[in-house]
């Protein structure tokens, strides 16, 4: 075990935190398991790619653009689709989002073709050389933005009226409605925030990975793990979950071998679930069985 892999693991954790946070929020608040989350990350990456290609916009500057686009898409999906069947329970909405996912991926394939694309800013390969370890700038920036997004989300949820309404709805939908919360709108706003976070994740990941219409699929599995490790619907949970997963994968690749990376991270997930099912920083009343 060397210092470099530890640093790599922590930085990868920052990437994973961005992937998991929107998914966890939507699941925790609305009880909708959004299988289209991976596809929304993909579309966010395409927004960044086209902004980079067409307008010459730096990938980090196009984050607000990707967030806006995916936030609007998320709002529409929840308001005009998922809200219509949301009372049937978690599995019907799951299948509905699976259908939405198929539509989104195929549309991306249709519009953008299956070609591999990449965003390659000039500073892409550069890193901070600290002697024993090298810290790539891009990954460091992603880690920082992940922290920032988490912090802003935390402020929004605890300091604003809408944020409080979202948390109240997560605790008890019917009680929230009784005290005057428009839960249909709150669900749509929550999904919009989840979509915006997916868009941000896509914009960030476009600088690291090749962009294809199916790039989001493996990330969906990771989002599940991250959300459950940290605790559903908690703002800091995804950061913790992402860090644990990132470290487990990197350290596992070094000590056991890269072939068993997934087995290790998912094995870890199963152990965490059995030992502490509410997640590491999860709280009672959040995302209980409904």
């Amino acid at each position: 075990m060397d210092l470099q892999s530890l640093v790599n693991g922590i930085l990868l954790g920052g990437v994973y935190a961005c992937v998991g946070i929107g998914f966890s929020l939507v699941w925790g608040v609305t009880n909708v398991i959004n299988l289209a989350h991976g596809a929304m990350i993909t579309l966010g990456a395409y927004v960044t790619f086209w902004a980079y290609q067409g307008l010459g916009l730096d990938p980090f500057l196009s984050i607000p653009l990707a967030m806006l686009a995916m936030g609007a898409l998320g709002y529409g999906i929840q308001r005009y689709l998922v809200n219509l069947v949301v009372r049937t329970g978690v599995f019907m909405t799951l299948i509905l989002t699976f259908g939405v996912q198929l539509v989104l991926i195929d549309t991306a394939l249709f519009l953008f073709s299956g070609d591999y694309r990449a965003v390659t800013p000039s500073y892409g390969g550069a890193g901070l050389d600290l002697g024993a370890v090298v810290v790539p700038y891009v990954r460091l920036a992603i880690f920082g933005i992940g922290l920032l997004l988490t912090f802003v989300l935390h402020l929004f949820m605890t300091r604003t009226r809408t944020g409080n309404a979202i948390r109240a709805t997560a605790l008890n939908r019917d009680a929230a409605q009784l005290v005057g919360v428009d839960i249909g709108r709150i669900y749509a706003v929550t999904f919009a925030i989840g979509g915006a976070l997916a868009g941000a994740a896509g914009a960030l990941l476009s600088t690291l990975y090749t962009i294809t219409p199916v790039m989001g699929q493996p990330l969906l599995g990771k989002a599940f793990v991250i959300a459950c490790l940290g605790g559903l619907g908690t703002m800091w949970g995804s950061l913790i979950g992402g860090l644990i997963l990132g470290l487990a994968e990197t350290v596992g690749a070094v000590t056991i071998g890269p072939a068993y990376q997934q087995a290790l991270s998912f094995g870890l997930l199963v152990v965490i679930l059995v030992v502490r099912p509410e997640g590491i920083v999860g709280q009672k009343f959040f995302a209980e069985v409904k």
Binding site: W27, I33, L81, N83, L84, V85, V86, R87, T88, V90, F91, M92, I95, L96, F98, G99, V100, Q101, L102, V103, I105, D106, T107, L109, F110, I183, G184, Y187, G221, F224, V225, C228, L232, A259, Y260, Q261, Q262, A263, F266, G267, L269, V270, L273, V274, P277, A287, E288, V289, K290
Partner: protein, 325 residues
């Protein structure tokens, strides 16, 4: 409009009998294409019924159910190639091994409720898939090629067809038994309210583990047939979560916890996707996604519920009104 119960049962029996006879005769009348399409329908119907035992009746969301499919497929393949066994015993042992795996995993995992159980099953699936890909005995990432059936291909495909038909009818019979028996009643009590069931004297752990093992046995048996049918398997094929997504959708479309629902769901979705695949070479996923979304919007409680309501438009509208927010 109510019919006397005796007449209704006789009608249902006659209809089911006619369907079975038609299914038995089909390979001798239709082309190889239809035999293949129907074999697919039977396979997914059988898988949806297997899933129905743990999800529909017991209420435990087994997202990673396809792990038992893979275990059944791999055990069958390994016994046939490495030990030189015939298909029959390898197949049965494959199913038993899947059941044993579920029994062992069930003791810790079935203590989890709701989402947590669901996610844990995905974790098990991913871990098992990767371990299988790396173990040399299972051919690693190279996969396994099974011994080829000795005989003409039509006979082989007909054998697979009948084998799948038999398991489908058997598993539907199992669902019918679960809907009536004491065992099935205990499972439904656990689904409705686990604490209440325990208070009423249901040994919940034992029943849950048995239900999961039964579901895994069925899934594993289908996996074994699939391995023999394909004659070549590799981990990404048989441990593919998308396979379970497909039969999950079928079970829910038809109606979870009903006897005929999973079967109806398999027929509906498989015919739709075959038709769409044929019609739209490009964009078939888009059309399938749209169709799935529309079906969920208009029958959010499943097809069998619509049958129960006799397809009344008022009931559909009422459903839509009740489930929105």
């Amino acid at each position: 409009m109510t019919r006397p119960p005796g007449r209704r049962a006789a009608l249902t029996g006659a209809a089911a009998g006619a369907l079975v006879v038609a299914a038995l005769a089909l390979p001798w009348l239709a082309s190889g294409y239809w035999v293949r399409v129907l074999s697919g329908v039977f396979m997914f119907g059988a898988l949806a019924q297997s899933l129905n035992v743990i999800v529909g009746f017991t209420g435990y969301a087994d997202f990673g159910n396809v792990v038992f499919f893979g275990l059944g497929a791999y055990t069958t393949a390994a016994l046939m190639t490495k030990a030189g066994w015939a298909f029959g015993p390898s197949w049965v042992l494959g199913g038993c091994l899947a059941a044993a795996a579920a029994g062992l995993l069930g003791l810790p995992l079935l203590r989890l409720r709701g989402h947590y159980f669901a996610i844990a099953t995905i974790g098990v699936l991913e871990a098992v898939r990767e371990i299988t890909s790396n173990v040399a005995f299972f051919g690693g990432g190279m996969g396994i090629t099974l011994p080829v059936f000795a005989g003409p291909p039509e006979v082989f495909y007909r054998t697979i067809y009948y084998l799948l038909l038999v398991v489908l009818v058997a598993f539907t019979g199992l669902a019918w038994w679960l809907a009536r028996s004491r065992f099935g009643y205990a499972l439904r009590a656990i689904k409705a309210d686990e604490e209440a069931a325990a208070v009423m004297g249901v040994h919940t752990t034992r029943y849950k583990v048995l239900a999961w093992a039964l579901s895994a046995l069925c899934t594993g048996l289908v996996g074994g047939i699939y391995a023999y049918w394909l004659t070549y398997i590799e981990p990404p094929f048989v441990f593919d979560i998308l396979i379970s997504v497909k039969y999950w959708i079928m079970m829910l479309l038809g109606g979870a916890g009903t006897v005929l629902g999973p079967l109806a769901g398999a027929i509906i979705l498989e015919s739709l996707s075959v038709a769409i695949w044929g019609q739209f070479l490009r964009g078939h996923m888009l059309v399938l996604g749209l169709v799935i979304s529309l079906v969920i919007l208009f029958m959010p409680t499943g097809f069998m519920d619509l049958v129960r309501l006799r397809f009344s438009p008022a009931a559909v509208v009422d459903n839509l009104r009740r489930n929105r927010i």
